[in-house]
Symmetry: C2
Subunit: 336 residues, 2 copies
C-alpha cells in the first residue's frame, strides 16, 4: 500500500514538473532572448484580468503575414512557383505561348526575362493560371500541386517549409484566447486549401489578395467562376484595408517580415491600449536565407526589409526577430 502511494506521489511530482516546464516554455524552438521575452510578457499582461493592459478575449486579434513570416519566400514566393508549374501544365492547350511573352521565356526556363516585364508580366501569368475555373476546381489544383511540388533548396513539400517557431507561437497565442489571422499579399484562395492543416488557421481567418468571382449555374449546379480580373491587392496600404474589411477590428498584435507589412504594423500600433508589433529578419543564410537590405544583408526583389524599416522598428519599439539568433529550430524537418 505504501509503495503504491509512493508511486502515485512520484508520478504526481513528475506530472507537476512536466506541466511547469511546459508552462515555463510554451515556445521551445525560440532561444531565450529579448524577442521571446517580449512576446511572453505581452501575452501575460493582456490576458491578466485586472491588469491595466488587459484585453477582453474577443478583442485579442493577431494578424500574420504569410510569405517570409510563416513560411519561406525565397528564392521566389511559393505562389510564383505554382504559377510557373501551371504554365507548363497548361502549355499544350496554349500553342500561342511558344512565341508570346512572358510565357515563351517561362517555358524555356528563363524566369529572369519572363519577369522583366514587371507587374504587367506577373499579372498576365497569374491571370492565365489562376482564372477560368470554378473555386472548387482551383482548390483541387492547389492541393494536387502541393502534394507533389518540392522547395528547390530544402527538397521538401512547400507546406513543410513553415517556420516551427511561428507554428508554436500561433498555438501559444490561441491557447491564450488570441484569434489568429493570416493577412497576406498572396492569393486568398491559394492559401486557404492548406492553411488550416499547416497553421491551424481556418479559411474564414485568411485574408489575402483576390480576383473577382461570379456566381452562376453550370449544368444545373451553383458554382463560383474565377474571373481574370483583380478584386483586391492585400499588400502595403492594402493590408489595413483588408483587415478592416474582413475582421472589422484593429489587431492587438501584428507579425510580418518586410516593407509590405509596414502599414499593417502601423495600423495595429495606432489603436489604444497595449499593442505588439514584430518583424522577422532573415539573417540566416545557412539554415534558410539572408536578405535585407537592412543591416547590410543582401538585397532582394521580393520581401525586402529596408534600412528605413529597420530604423522604424527602433523608433516605434517593434520587436525584431533574428532568425539566426532567436530561433533554435527553423524547420521541423531539421530535427528528423
Amino acid at each position: 500500500m505504501k509503495t503504491i502511494r509512493n508511486k502515485f506521489a512520484l508520478l504526481a511530482i513528475v506530472i507537476a514538473g512536466l506541466t511547469t516546464a511546459y508552462a515555463q516554455d510554451p515556445l521551445p524552438s525560440w532561444n531565450d532572448g529579448k524577442a521571446k521575452q517580449s512576446i511572453v510578457e505581452f501575452v501575460a499582461k493582456v490576458t491578466k484580468e485586472g491588469s491595466p493592459d488587459f484585453v477582453p478575449a474577443p478583442e485579442r486579434i493577431a494578424t500574420f503575414d504569410n510569405d517570409g513570416t510563416l513560411w519561406a519566400e525565397q528564392p521566389v514566393p511559393v505562389q510564383l512557383f505554382f504559377a510557373l508549374d501551371r504554365v507548363k501544365a497548361l502549355a499544350p492547350q496554349h500553342p500561342e505561348w511558344k512565341t508570346k511573352e512572358p510565357f515563351a521565356s517561362l517555358l524555356k526556363g528563363d524566369l529572369k526575362t519572363a519577369l522583366a516585364g514587371g507587374d504587367h508580366a506577373l499579372l498576365e501569368i497569374i491571370m492565365a493560371t489562376h482564372a477560368g475555373m470554378t473555386t472548387a476546381e482551383f482548390e483541387q489544383i492547389v492541393k494536387d500541386w502541393l502534394a507533389t511540388a518540392k522547395h528547390p533548396k530544402f527538397k521538401k513539400p512547400y507546406n513543410a517549409c513553415v517556420y516551427q517557431p511561428m507554428i508554436e507561437l500561433l498555438a501559444y497565442l490561441r491557447a491564450n484566447g488570441v484569434k489568429t489571422f493570416i493577412v497576406s499579399g498572396g492569393g486568398i484562395e491559394f492559401m486557404r486549401p492548406w492553411a488550416e492543416k499547416a497553421y491551424g488557421i481556418p479559411p474564414e481567418q485568411v485574408v489575402g489578395s483576390s480576383i473577382k468571382t461570379k456566381f452562376e449555374m453550370r449544368d444545373g449546379k451553383p458554382v463560383l467562376l474565377r474571373l481574370p480580373e483583380i478584386n483586391f491587392i492585400d499588400d502595403k496600404a492594402g493590408k489595413p484595408v483588408g483587415i478592416n474589411q474582413h475582421i472589422g477590428r484593429r489587431p492587438v498584435m501584428a507579425f510580418g517580415n518586410s516593407d509590405g507589412d509596414r502599414q499593417m504594423l502601423e495600423y495595429t500600433q495606432g489603436g489604444s491600449g497595449a499593442r505588439f508589433m514584430l518583424l522577422v529578419l532573415h539573417d540566416d543564410a545557412a539554415r534558410e536565407y539572408a536578405y535585407g537590405p537592412a543591416k547590410g544583408l543582401p538585397d532582394v526583389k521580393l520581401g525586402t526589409f529596408t534600412p528605413a524599416l529597420y530604423e522604424q522598428t527602433k523608433k516605434d519599439g517593434w520587436t525584431v526577430v533574428s532568425m539566426k539568433d532567436d530561433w533554435k529550430t527553423i524547420f521541423a524537418f531539421e530535427n528528423k
Copy 2:
C-alpha cells in the same frame, strides 16, 4: 444520513429533469411544428458522430441574412432610417441640399419623391451620409444613433426589434458547434457596431455591402478613411461571392426571407452532404408585418418574397417559417 442521501437523490432528479426539459426545448419561442422540427432534426443528424450526415465542427457554417431575417425591415430597412436621420443632422453643413434632390424632398419629409430617383437617389443618400469620415468615427455615429432612434411602429430601439426565435436559434446552433455568420445586403460597417451584442456574432463574422476605404496618416495617426465609392454589393448573386470571399467555405445552413437570399440558399444547397435552407415568411400583420407577394400577401418594394421563390421552396425542399404560426413570440419586449 438517510435523509441527506434522499435530499441528494431528489436534487439529482430535479436537475436531471431540468436538463432534459432544456434539451427537449432549445427553442422555446418556436411553436411545435414542421419548421422547428426540421431544424432540430437537421442539427441532430449533422452533429452525431458516425451518422452518414455527420459534419465536422469546422465545416458547420451557417449564414443568416439580417434585414427581415434577424430583425424587422419594414416599413423601410433600418439603415435607410439611419441615412435619413443623418441627412437631417448634416443639413446645416449642406445649404445646397435645400434645392437639390433627393435631399430636398427628404428634408421636407417626402420619402416617396426622394426615392423616386431609384438606385441612383439611394446611392446619393448613402454616399452623402456614410462616407467622408474614418471607420472609427462612423462606428461611433452608428452607436450614437442606435442609442436614441426608435422604430416607428414598435416604439423601441431598433436593436430591440430583433426576432427572439432567431436569437434562440443562433444560440442553439452555436451550442452545437455551428459557426454563425451574417450575410446581408446591408452595410457591413453599419451592422458590426451592434451585431455582437444583439446576436452574439462578432465583427469578423459579419459579411455585408461596403464602400471603399483608404489607409492614411491623419495628424500622425493611422486611420481608414471611408470613400464615396461602392466596393461590393452583398445581395442576390453577390451573396455567394461575399460568402466565398469572407468565409471560404460553402455554408451547411442558410437562412433568409426574400428574393435577395435566393442565390445564397442555392449555393448552400449545391454543396455535397446534408444542407439546410430556410426562409422566413412575414405573414403576421398584427405582431409584425405581412408582405410577400407570395401566398397573396401584400407586395412591398424591399424585402419581397415572390410567388416564384415560394414555388422554389417546395421544389427544393426549403423550410418556410410562418411568423404567424411558427413563432410563439416574435420580440422579447412582447412578454414584458
